[in-house]
Amino acid sequence: MKAHSFGLALPRFRNRAAQRALQDLLMAHADALVSGAADREALLSPYGEETLAEASELLALAERIQHAMSEVSPSEQFVQQLGNQLATAPTVVPSRSLWGRVRHLPPRVQLAAGIGGATLTAGVVLLISRALVPGALESWRNRRTVTA
């Protein structure tokens, strides 16, 4: 049984190792492309035939991507204008209202705050109602006693 599962695990391990080797090769190739020093022969020499066969098409595709995605520049006028606008823009952020600040909190914090707030309000209402109307909870207490 053990030998059987080992036999299944080994190809998976080999696959994973091959995938990692391929990923390393592709990224090394991309790094070499963007740095302008893509010596394909030197790059491929440490890799086995299996990796190379799978990689060759993807390497060619990466070279096409690099050729297609060239750097663009904004106009100098735009850069200058935006720089001037930013330099004269007010840096002080208008303070948000309490509701505005709550809305920007993470959802779990909002939920916790909601539950906490509701519990607190219910407790306060209970205490006040007991203090102001002494017999207000009497019928509820009696019902609990009967049920018990």
């Binding site: 995938q19 990923q23 990224m27 991309a30 595709l61 991507i65 995605m69 520049s73 904004p74 935006l82």
Partner: protein
Amino acid sequence: MTEPNTPLERNYADADDAQLVAWAKVDSAAFGELYRRYVRKIYNYVYYRTGNHHDAEDLTSRVFFRALAHVQNYTERGVPFSAWLYRIAHNLVANWHRDRGRQKIIPLDEQITSSMKSEAPEALAESHEEQERLLQSIRELPAERQQLLILKFVERLPNAEIGRIMNRTEGAIKSLYHRTLLTLRESLAAQEDKPLSRPRRISTRGRKTNS
């Protein structure tokens, strides 16, 4: 050595990003230096995500105005300023796509014609068509894969920085790059049988940088 306390004593050009951000909370000139460092990078990023110069200018402006408005609240926490800026840009571009509900378009003609001036007309037409197919496929990729290609091939960032911007490990970046290439290869193979659709809008404002 004492820390410069007044703007006149500060050497903005030599300061690192973290120092500039600390100054920028009270000093607009420090923010100006950050702007000069990143405006072209952010513009490139936005341009390849939106596909035209007009929207790239508009969104780049919004990125920096938003950064200026929130730089007071920025704390590093392991995320560099550049990553913070790219995240603002990423969110604004995502909103832009959601609001417009249209496909991302990259004006190819200006780039292709300028990068292939020396080639023969037949070769030019063939290469043009191939490149258009490739960019069309890139435009159809999920946003994070487009982002990876832009950061790698246009911005030329190292993997560690790409990982910080995209909030992934370097291993995950390699894996994503591999999957992106595989998807593109499949997409290109599928496109071979389909007629090529033209971009709906072509910008005429060529500004390719020779690099």
